[in-house]
């Protein structure tokens, strides 16, 4: 295995260097097939981080060949650079493994290895829409866990489909909720509490899978009303002052060369929010333009909301533009913390007003007749 990893690493290193020199004008379908070969080898050698970076590099190169308008230069450069850094480290694999086994293991990465956990009580408190044209569409659902060892944690469920023309993320909300009893559609989980049994769970990443284990059972709490004050009250755990954010997220944070320019650190619940102003940063073509919304809130540290102008964020941007100048404050916004550009920046996952959670990124969902018929006649 030692010799092989070194050999593969040398090939990948040479390949990325040649891409850096020649640019993308020489890239062809035959040429990017090489990445598929590298990806296969990296996965076999259990170099998971390298395999992941190669997978994304492959996606971006394919997007470049297929449709340049959806190619994202920042993602391309990030994954090209990651592939190069990792392969460079593995070129002298034996040395690295002997002298710095911890670093070696961290660079190899680990496979997400879910374990089955018995009981969860969950409530959706945030949604992120994913719309990578030509690649995938879907959602990341952010659940607040209300029971057991994961209580008060935010657990993520990724619901994604390969991109097809005409398929929008919202259409996935009409799909069957896997393993649900009674049979329901995904949309149901936006307003109801769910109880789940035998769910695969990755503790390190706080990821759950509602769909992977046929023995999982998802019970919809039909009695749970749309009044979600219980879960909203629990979000107070994520309401933090400046000192608490510093202690929790920044004090011992170590930067690595593999950090995304905008990596998520944690979640934050911001209260009494006013959107004061907004502006658009960045020029089309050079990089993804970003809308920056200035906020005031109950605490005294400055916060901004940064939303990149991507297909999946367009509705979110429109909704936040409407909030500018609102006379009454927004009760709360539940967000991810993503420090960027020297600022404490947030990406909003939900808005809370009058004890109701809403998801500003969701387009109004048209009635789905198929789902209606199914629930009326209980057809499975």
């Amino acid at each position: 295995m030692n010799v092989q990893l070194e050999k593969v690493a040398v090939q990948i290193k040479d390949y990325t260097e040649s891409l850096a020199f020649n640019g993308l004008n020489f890239v062809s379908n035959d040429n990017i097939k090489k990445i598929e070969f590298f990806l296969h080898n990296a996965s076999q050698l259990e170099a998971y981080r390298l395999a992941t970076s190669l997978r994304y590099l492959h996606i971006e190169l394919k997007r470049f060949l297929k449709n340049r308008s959806i190619f994202n230069i920042e993602r391309y450069v990030f994954f090209l650079s990651n592939c190069w850094l990792l392969s460079r480290a593995f070129v002298s694999e034996k040395d690295l493994r002997d002298k710095n086994p911890d670093i070696f293991n961290s660079l190899m990465g680990t496979q997400l290895n879910p374990k089955i956990r018995s009981k969860f009580i969950l409530k959706v408190v945030g949604i992120e829409k994913i719309h990578l044209e030509g690649t995938i569409v879907g959602f990341v659902f952010y659940f607040l866990s209300l029971f057991g060892k994961t209580r008060n944690k935010i657990l993520k469920w990724n619901l994604m489909l390969p991109y097809k023309t005409g398929v929008t993320p919202e259409s996935l909300l009409h799909h069957d909720l896997p393993n649900s009893d009674p049979s329901s559609v995904v949309n149901t989980i936006l307003s109801k509490y769910i109880e789940a049994d035998n769910l695969p769970y990755v503790e390190k990443e706080d990821i759950i899978y509602l769909e992977k284990n046929p023995k999982s059972k998802i019970y919809i709490d039909e009695e749970s009303s749309e009044d979600t004050h219980v879960s909203i009250k629990k979000l107070d755990k994520y309401y933090l002052n400046a000192k608490e954010i510093y202690q929790k997220n920044f004090k011992d944070y170590e930067v690595t060369p593999f950090d995304l320019p905008a990596s998520i650190l944690d979640y934050l619940y911001v209260k009494d929010v006013y959107v004061i102003d907004f502006q658009k940063e960045g020029i089309e073509g050079d990089r993804t333009p970003t809308f920056v919304f200035e906020l005031t809130h109950r605490e005294d540290y400055p916060l901004v909301i940064r939303i990149p102008e991507k297909q999946g964020n367009l509705k979110l941007i429109e909704e936040f533009k409407k909030l500018k100048g609102r006379r009454t404050s927004i009760d709360g916004i539940f967000c991810k913390i993503i420090p960027e550009n020297g600022q404490l920046s947030l990406y909003p996952l939900s808005i809370i007003n009058n004890n109701q959670i809403s998801y500003p990124n969701l387009k109004k969902i048209a009635r789905d007749n198929r789902a209606l018929l199914k629930s009326t006649y209980k057809i499975k």
Partner: protein
């Protein structure tokens, strides 16, 4: 210049470097015109003033290697050296950006304590 302006300027300089290198990564090193190149040369001085010495060192080395490209065909090892410099500069700029962001946010939060 205030501390905020200093930070803003540092981000702007890193941004210019990233944009120039992104252009090279799309169009290839041969697309680099004299005008583009002189902009990168000017930045080395700026980076030194800002105490970004490692980045400045690699940008200088990149520029020196570019000058040797007059030789045709370009020797393989020179091509390789230039690519390595580009990829190093990208990684260093990325780390610097991340460190600057985290340090700025730390300052903001300490002020709010």
């Amino acid at each position: 210049m205030s501390q905020e302006e200093d930070i803003r300027e540092s981000f702007q300089v890193l941004d210019v470097i990233k944009l120039k290198l992104n252009e090279i990564l799309i169009k290839g090193i041969n697309s680099l015109s004299n005008e583009n190149n002189s902009e990168l040369v000017n930045l080395t001085q700026k980076l030194e003033e800002m105490n970004f010495s490692t980045l400045s060192k690699h940008l200088k080395s990149f520029n020196e290697k570019l000058k040797k490209m007059i030789q045709k065909p370009v020797p393989m090892n020179l091509k390789k050296d230039i690519s390595i410099e580009i990829l190093k500069i990208i990684s260093i700029a990325r780390i610097l950006e991340r460190i600057m962001t985290l340090e700025s946010v730390k300052k903001i939060l300490k002020r709010g304590n």
